[in-house]
């Protein structure tokens, strides 16, 4: 067992876990943050995506020990005080979420994308979300959700 300390959604955590336990399992089993989903468990589908120190990663491929000292953001940390993040709101309005399994990873991938490219082209959206597989929506509504979120954020910036 190894002592692993990190912050999740702003809260400090200190855990005694097997060092090779997947961050995905630490989040879900030890911290009961079940918003992060397991799809393939092989880094292909992106359902388990979270932000580690601001970078998008697949938590199924991160051993717990490598998260030591990190700042982690999961889907539970995206909304604030019960209010949906604009990206979440756009997924809701545009039908970017159906069964919901891929949605947490999609939202975090979109978050990471808009951090890097506040005004993404369709190609950048497609590349940014290429590691997140959805079996319901056909992707078009997801791309539209991200486009709308970018547009709203840009309008807000323009106003302020």
């Amino acid at each position: 067992m190894s002592l692993v300390q990190f912050s999740v959604n702003g809260k400090r955590e200190s855990l005694d876990v097997p060092p090779m336990k997947r961050l995905l399992d630490v989040l879900r089993e030890d911290l009961h943050l079940t918003g992060t989903k397991e799809g393939c468990g092989e880094g292909e589908c992106g359902a388990c995506a979270v932000l580690v120190d601001g970078e998008l990663v697949n938590s199924c491929l991160v051993p717990a020990l490598q998260a030591n000292g990190a700042r982690i953001c999961t889907i539970e940390g995206v909304s604030t005080e019960g209010r949906l993040h604009p990206i979440q709101q756009c997924f809701l309005e545009k039908g970017g979420a159906q069964c919901g399994i891929c949605t947490p990873g999609m939202i975090l991938a979109a978050h990471h994308l808009l951090d890097k490219y506040p005004n993404p082209t369709m190609e950048q959206i497609q590349e940014g979300l290429a590691g997140n597989l959805c079996r319901c929506t056909g992707y078009m509504r997801i791309f539209e959700s991200v486009q709308q979120a970018a547009q709203q954020a840009n309008e807000l910036t323009a106003k302020s």
Binding site: E44, L61, V62, Q66
Partner: protein
């Protein structure tokens, strides 16, 4: 079936020296773990046979891109995202930037490292053909010293490398002497994004008029290891690509390539398809040189 994680040990020594000391103390016992995009997949599917792992992911000293007059030096812990963000790489080593951009998804590029891509030694990996075409060298370190080996001599067989059990890949040195060269890379997979290649070819060539005066070819999935295609290179070197000669040159190069590759049938493709497409890619590259 997933592995029982309690059966695996992972430590994170505080420095590179401490990692090298651990490797020297018990050579062959430990396996280095960087971004985890390969070994953690093996863990997840119950195929991870190494039980003592040493993390090098936190070692800042292995994560750098340095530029001097003759080469770009890339630390083995540099991620594909770091490589994609490097202006120096984009300017001098466009094939490197391109291959990094199609190595997995953004999330995997944020974790996966160039050193991992090399040491995992998959014949289908994305960056090795580029490193072969560019004539890279590798700096290997151990507690007892440092040595530099040409990358073309690093892969000894299927998943076999020249890395000694006490050694670690420290730096990938890539010459930046390709100004005026023509660059080519193409990966053929099942789909455009996030596919493991069926076959890939990276190439650089220098022309003097219509004569090829330097050429280097690196390929994925054509032999049991990432391979430099020296027979095809020899068939092309000093050849003229004018209208009278180009068809014969293409035929000779395709034949030379066919003679030196040994593709296999596997889950992703067939030997026949790979051999045919390899010839097509080579021909596409040769003909692109005269347009």
């Amino acid at each position: 079936m997933r592995s029982d994680v309690s059966q695996f040990d992972l430590t994170a020594p505080p420095s590179l020296d401490a990692v090298l000391a651990a490797l020297a103390k018990e050579p062959g016992k430990h396996t280095l773990l960087a971004g985890g995009t390969e070994l953690m997949v093996a863990l997840g599917t119950g195929r991870l046979n190494q039980h003592s792992l040493v993390s090098i992911q936190h070692l800042r000293e292995l994560r750098f891109i340095g530029v001097d007059d003759s080469a770009i030096h890339i630390g083995s812990g540099t991620t594909f995202t770091d490589i994609r963000r490097s202006k120096a790489v984009a300017a001098d080593l466009p094939l490197m930037a391109q291959s990094a951009s199609w190595t997995g998804s953004v999330a995997n590029q944020n974790r996966g490292t160039l050193g991992g891509n090399i040491c995992n030694a998959s014949p289908a990996a994305d960056t090795p053909p580029v490193l072969l075409a560019y004539g890279a060298t590798l700096t290997l370190v151990s507690a007892s010293g440092t040595r530099t080996v040409p990358y073309a001599e690093f892969h000894l067989g299927y998943k076999k490398t020249a890395l000694r059990p006490d050694e670690l890949l420290h730096t990938i040195n890539v010459p930046r002497t390709f100004s005026g060269y023509r660059h080519y890379i193409r990966k053929v997979g099942t789909r455009n994004a996030q596919a493991i290649s069926k076959i890939a070819l990276a190439a650089v060539a220098k022309l003097d008029g219509d004569r090829i005066v330097d050429i280097r070819l690196g390929a994925a999935s054509l032999t049991d290891r990432p391979a430099r295609c020296s027979a095809a290179e020899a068939a092309l070197l000093n050849q003229r690509l004018d209208a009278a000669n180009i068809d014969a040159t293409v035929r000779a190069a395709r034949a030379a390539l066919a003679s030196e590759v040994k593709p296999i049938d596997d889950i992703r493709s067939t030997a026949k398809y790979r051999a045919a497409v390899a010839g097509n890619l080579l021909e596409e590259f040769i003909r692109s040189l005269v347009t």
